[in-house]
Symmetry: C3
Subunit: 138 residues, 3 copies
C-alpha cells in the first residue's frame, strides 16, 4: 500500500527550523498503514530536512554552525549571476539533503524521545513550503 | 513483504565509529526477502549513519574533520541550558543524518568493495545504541 | 512491484558534478511503476549524491565550499597509509551521503522546478561510475 500526501506551511527563511513531527505522525495515522517507511522529500533547492532535539539552545547552536561553515557574507558566483543573494542557501541545502526516510511500526515513528523531524529553510525570505510525505507499507 | 528488526551494540562515544555492515547483511538474510531496500534509522539525536571505507587512517581523518568543522571547545547554548556538554554531538548528528537507505538484489547489499556501513556515535560518553533495520521487498 | 536498474557514466573527478535527473526519470518510465519511491545509491566510497539547482555559478560555489570545509592540501592519514592522495575524497563522500530517496506520483519525480539530482565525484581522477536505481511502488 502507498499513500502520497503533502504538508504545507509558512516559513520565515534565514535558517528557520520548523518541527513537523506531529504533522508527519498525523499523515501516517490517516493512511491507516501500520508498518512501513515514510519518505519525506523537500520540493525546492534552498531548504533541507533532518532530525534534531527541538530545544531552543540547540537550534541556535545549529544555526551558528551554518553561519561558520557556509557563511552568508562571502562572495557566491550564484549571486553575481542571479542577484537573489541566496547562494549560501542553496549550498547549505545541498549538503544537508532533501530526503529523510523513517521506519514506523504499529503506526508509531521510530524516533528517539529527544528526536524530532525538522524542516530547515535556508532561504533569505519568507516562503510557503511543501513537503511530500510518501507512506509505503502494509 | 516487510520485516522490522533491530541491531543493538555498545559504543564508546567521542566519535566512535562502529562498522555494522555484517549485522545488516545478517538481518537481510534472516528476512528471506531477496530484492528490495533496507532502511537504517538511528533512534537518538547524538549519533548518525553513513558509509565509509573502514580503514583506520581514514577513520582518524573523518574524526579530525568533525573536530575542525564542529569543534568541541567552543560555547554551545545547549550546554549552558542543560549542562550535558554534548551540544556539539547534537549538531554533528543533525548534519550527518539519521537515515540511510540501501538497495539489495538477490540478498546482496549494493555496496562497493571498499564501502562499509557505519554508525557514528558523537556523544561524549559510552552508551547502548539501537538501530532500526527495516527491510521491504519481495 | 520492484525494479532494480543501473545508470553508468564517465566522470572527471575533482568534484565533478553530473546531472542524472533525466536518466533517473527514464528508468522510472521504463519500469512502468506509477507511484512509489526511487532509491538512488552510490556504489563506492569517494562519491556522493544530492539535489541542487544545476546553475554553473552555484556548482562553482558548491565546489568552493568543499575546498574550504574539507581541504585537499592538509595531511590525511589515509594518504600516508595508501598513497592514493584521495583521503579528502573519502571524507567528503561520507558527509554528503551515498543514498537519496525520492517519491514519485503518476510517473513524475517530486522535484522542484530548480532542483536537479546530481552525482558528485570527489575522487582525484577520472572514473567509470555506477548508481543503483531501485524503484518500488505500484
Amino acid at each position: 500500500m502507498i499513500a502520497t500526501k503533502r504538508i504545507s506551511f509558512q516559513t520565515q527563511g534565514h535558517c528557520d527550523i520548523v518541527d513537523i513531527t506531529s504533522q508527519v505522525a498525523s499523515k501516517i495515522a490517516e493512511s491507516e498503514i501500520k508498518d512501513g517507511i515514510v519518505t519525506l522529500f523537500v520540493t525546492g533547492s534552498t531548504a533541507g530536512i533532518t532530525t534534531i532535539e527541538n530545544e531552543s539552545g540547540l537550534l541556535s547552536d545549529f544555526k551558528k554552525m551554518w553561519d561558520r561553515v557556509i557563511p552568508t557574507d562571502i562572495p557566491y558566483a550564484h549571486d553575481q549571476a542571479w542577484g537573489d543573494g541566496n547562494g549560501y542557501s542553496h549550498v547549505r541545502a545541498s549538503i544537508l539533503g532533501a530526503s529523510l526516510t523513517i521506519p514506523f511500526s504499529n503506526g508509531k515513528l521510530s524516533l528517539g524521545t529527544w528526536q524530532q523531524i525538522v524542516f530547515v529553510d535556508f532561504d533569505n525570505r519568507s516562503r510557503t513550503r511543501q513537503i511530500v510525505v510518501q507512506i509505503m507499507g502494509e
